[in-house]
């Protein structure tokens, strides 16, 4: 009766119950939204308890649905409360201008990201670029980055078509998809980092 799965399930449901209990006591609308997001995590834990490859395939749509609803609700919250313009002020990381530390850290991150490759690698390398741009307060042309992002996205999709229609070339497609998603995530994240400090 009480095997590993049941224990995991009990713990996950206990977490969800604690979240819901907090929700019943909370009165602030924004805090309610955050608490519900917290409870969502418990449901992802229940899905993860399946413990096979299927879990991975089910978590992704579950997460996407959760995030989509969260975005929609936060948009409604902004409209409801009348926050129309809400400019982001930037992070204001103070770095001495001549210091070589940001360059070294960014290089390490980018190289490590490229070695990892794929989605995770793209995230880490992109983080390096974001850090570099933030420390240098980069202002420049983002057009090139956008084009690179688009092209790498197309490469990723093309690789998937190769998987579907020319399965014999799977190794080529695998490399294409890995490089495509790497470049895509790097450029997207550096765009995020570059636009963060932008004042309107």
């Amino acid at each position: 009766m009480w095997n590993e799965y049941s224990f995991g399930l009990a713990i996950a449901f206990a977490c969800a119950l604690i979240g819901f209990a907090a929700l019943t006591r909370e009165r602030d609308d924004l805090h309610k939204l955050l608490l519900i997001d917290l409870v969502e995590t418990a449901s992802l834990a229940v899905i993860a308890l399946i413990g096979t490859d299927l879990a991975e395939a089910l978590i992704l749509p579950g997460l996407v649905v959760g995030i989509a609803e969260l975005l929609a609700l936060s948009q409604i919250y902004l409209t409801k409360e009348g926050y129309q313009q809400n400019p982001v002020k930037g992070l204001n990381i103070e770095v001495m201008m001549r210091s070589p530390a940001p360059v070294i850290l960014s290089t390490i991150l980018v190289v490590y990201g490229i070695i990892l490759s794929g989605f995770t690698g793209g995230g880490i390398a992109g983080l390096g670029v974001v850090f570099f741009l933030m420390s240098r307060s980069f202002t420049g042309d983002f057009h090139v980055l956008e084009i690179a992002s688009g092209i790498s996205w197309a490469l990723w999709v093309a690789a998937f078509f190769v998987f579907m229609f020319l399965p014999g070339w799977w190794y080529f497609a695998l490399l294409g998809a890995a490089i495509g998603i790497l470049l895509k995530v790097i450029t997207k994240m550096s765009l995020v980092g570059a636009m963060w400090g932008e004042t309107e």
């Binding site: 799965y5 399930l9 996950a12 449901f13 969800a16 819901f20 929700l23 609308d29 309610k32 939204l33 519900i36 997001d37 409870v39 969502e40 418990a42 449901s43 992802l44 229940v46 899905i47 308890l49 399946i50 413990g51 299927l54 879990a55 089910l58 749509p61 579950g62 649905v65 959760g66 989509a68 609803e69 969260l70 929609a72 609700l73 409604i76 919250y77 409209t79 409801k80």
Partner: protein, 217 residues
């Protein structure tokens, strides 16, 4: 196989996910389709408020952008309903139901009125909370029986735990059945008649379908 909605007429296979049309599901599917077409071709109602003490009335005007957005949301809701009606995969079903929930929130939230926005926000919170038991139920079914296919579960050889069924009903009630608890006057008093119907219709359809799903499991 225990058949609730009659023998399946034909199957549409997408890999593991088998879409099946039984007399029951095909009826619901057609209902959703017909109402989606109605929404597509109809014009929004203009609400009239009588001014008391005078021989006058106010006519509420719906802007074109709002009309377009609500029509899009209603049609998306109809499509999601159609998917939820015929799918033969439990996780697929929960995803379609949550899509219906998002669309319902969108239909209601398009109205630029503080009371309506408040009601939509509360409804959205419940819908978001509803995904927790719903996905948990689908995951529990997958973990205990090893399959998510309703056709395989309908064979009756594997027993689905009662807790999973209860959680599924709870989640679907929160997510897909808007007026079941959200019979707030603010929501349905808002102008734009044909689109709000989609909220009620999707709730009705999902109620009927989830009853079938629970009986089949």
């Amino acid at each position: 196989m225990n058949e609730i909605g009659g023998a399946p007429l034909f199957f549409l296979e997408f890999g593991d996910i088998v879409i099946y049309f039984s007399p029951f599901t095909i009826t619901l599917f057609l209902l959703a389709l017909v109402f989606s077409v109605f929404v597509l071709v109809s014009r929004p109602e203009r609400q009239i408020d009588i001014a008391f003490g005078a021989d006058a009335f106010y006519a509420k005007v719906i802007s074109l952008s709002e009309l377009k957005f609500r029509r899009f949301m209603s049609i998306a809701c109809g499509l999601a309903c159609m998917g939820a009606m015929v799918t033969g995969d439990l996780f697929d079903f929960t995803l379609f139901v949550s899509l219906v929930g998002i669309c319902n929130v969108g239909i209601v939230a398009a109205v630029k009125s503080r009371h309506v926005q408040n009601a939509a926000y509360q409804y959205g919170l419940v819908a978001l909370a509803g995904t927790v038991p719903m996905f948990a139920a689908a995951a529990m079914v997958a973990a205990t029986t090893g399959t998510l296919s309703m056709l395989e579960l309908a064979e009756g050889t594997i027993q689905v735990p009662l807790a999973a069924r209860a959680l599924l009903v709870l989640g679907v009630m929160g997510e897909g059945m808007a007026p079941f608890y959200a019979a707030k006057a603010e929501m349905f008093r808002a102008p734009g008649a044909p689109y709000v119907i989609m909220c009620s219709l999707s709730s009705l359809l999902i109620f009927l379908r989830v009853a079938e799903v629970i009986l089949v499991l």
